[in-house]
Amino acid sequence: MSEIKMIRVGAASCGVAAGALPVLAMLKEKAGDIPVLEVGCLGHCYAEPLIEVVKKDGGSVMYGKVRADETSINNILTLAEAGRFEIPAGRKSKELVKVLRLAGRIVPTCWDDYIANGGYSALKKALAMTPQAVIDEVKKSGLRGRGGGGFPTGNKWGFLAAKTAPEKILICNADEGDPGAFMDRSLMESVPHQMLEGMLIAAYATGATKAFIYCRAEYPMAIKHLRIAIGQIYEHNYNDLNGRKIEIEIKEGAGAFVCGEETAMIHSLEGERGVPRFRPPFPTDSGWKGYPSMINNVETFGNVPLILSEGGDEYAKIGTAGGRGTKLFALAGDLRNPGLVEVPMGITLGEIVFDIGGADPDGVKAVQCGGPSGGCIPVELFNTPVDYDSLRSLGAIMGSGGMIVISKKRCMVETARYFLDFTHRESCGKCTFCRVGTTRMFETLERIVAGRGEESDLDLLESLGNKIRMGSLCGLGQTAPNPVLATLRYFRHEYLAHVRDHQCGALQCGALVDVKVDHDKCIKCKLCVKTCPVGAISADDIVVDNNKCTRCNSCIEVCPKKAISRVKKGEGVRK
């Protein structure tokens, strides 16, 4: 036990959800004098709760899927072989950890930890330069907005710096509303100071007088850590930018996807409905309460200290012409190792999905990039390098970095329906094409997955999609049709199977499948009969009445013999 210097417990939201807190409590109880620290996210969500034991000789050993029981805890404290976790070799060789360098390594709310690891040295360096020199460095780095738009960050800074106004507003977009993305959450929870350091540098360079962080309320831990970190900044007077003090205020979002759009976010910060407006004037001309305002995303700010530390030229050595530096991706869906990864721009989709994510090469159908604003990219195109421009050319977008792997067992029409369900509800209603158009697209897709679609519906979807793109003011509307247009482009055959043959090849669309009991496997335990919420399974001969069945999958889940499954429509009918 004496070999151990300290124990780090991954206690970001994912870790906590996976059960890190009981593990932490038990470790603290059993570890004696060894410090047990709550740290952020290492990105290996599939192995949570994840523990790192740092040895006195400097080495470290990790333990994955730890449980709060004697065996697990003893394994850790005795540095046993059992339960050890190794970062998969494929991931190790492809990943390039820069922005997340301190995530999971330091205590997020500990000022000294951040300082001891070079924290705020970039700010000090910046404060010794002229504001213009800082902007030039960011321009040289080639950094583009990580929120999805990909606008060159240095240029944006230049616009705000050029303004003379009584107040200039800096806003950090931490409203990670894209379902399936959690890069910003992880960065804020794990290293809150890094993004704040980026904000302070930006405030110095642009002459901003007030700063807001617009963070979604669904991220309580991120908000808590940011509040503590801001308090520490004030305490150490680090918000003093060469004699000019800046206040940083956290505003909690209230659950509206459209507020990720710049002008909508500004309205929300003003206490109004988060409705976007026409641009120009751009926010850097007239934003919050009419003052020049600039919005950057969490990850963008998170990159800034790196750029200042290593220099713009050095930073720009990584990546491609279509994107410089590294990018964080939240990998989820049908793959072995979901989690948060950081990779150099220009890496291929295949490397991310297969080498890092450990997805089954024979099982993957596509990957959805950019969430509801993005599109899916079929496995055939996985040799595409990942940067802003190449993904756009495929009908997807880089987006903020959510990447959902979709296996062959999923229906692409249903996936598109899901996204339109989301966007049509999140449409703020201002632009007719977006408000009505996305609703019509959604209804059409509902019809198709219910087996009532017609071939002409596909033309309708395409026509509507292109009109919504052109007729909407903001990014939400302009990109809302992407998931449908991309699936129509790459998976038209699936749409055709739904509308022509009324079949769902993936057996996912409830209206196009039957549920059937395989009587060769069935042992007549009647667990399914008992479980079925609608009484659709007959007790005497264990047959599913497909007219009553709601396709809730309860019976399939409870069957101990896996004798119940979904089959093609018509095949489950009692003979």
């Binding site: 939201s13 994912c14 206490g271 959902i404 809730c552």
Partner: protein, 149 residues
Amino acid sequence: MGNFSYLSGIEPESSNLIKALQLVQAKEGYVSDDAIVEVAAYFKLAPVEVEGVLSFYAQFKRVKPGRFQIAVCDGTACHIKGSNSVFKWVSNELGISDGETDADGLFSLFTVACLGCCSLAPVMSVNGTVYGNLDRKKVAKIIKEYRAK
């Protein structure tokens, strides 16, 4: 009428309106008609202006929720991993649908866009505590545990 004196901690400046409504919801569990009138008076706005802002945001509840609020995540990863089944299981177990509260006032059920724990999909949260990698058994067990509380 309830006591909304805690509003005095917030500066009555229009850009703080959402913050005030969030505070009301944190204290009361929802935003009642009374609360809207109080908040409007505090900010020197018309109640309809407050309701206009409030109705835009999904976070605000206008009906008193149950003691345990179950949020089934329907983010992309959860959806891909079968969140609609999770929703049906919970809904069947409690006998209520999206946005409803059961007769005893014990459980409320609703779907949310994303809880940000995508790698543990499918997930749901009960009063903010996230439960991941759900299957039917786990869902039933979690609900049973809360029922006993």
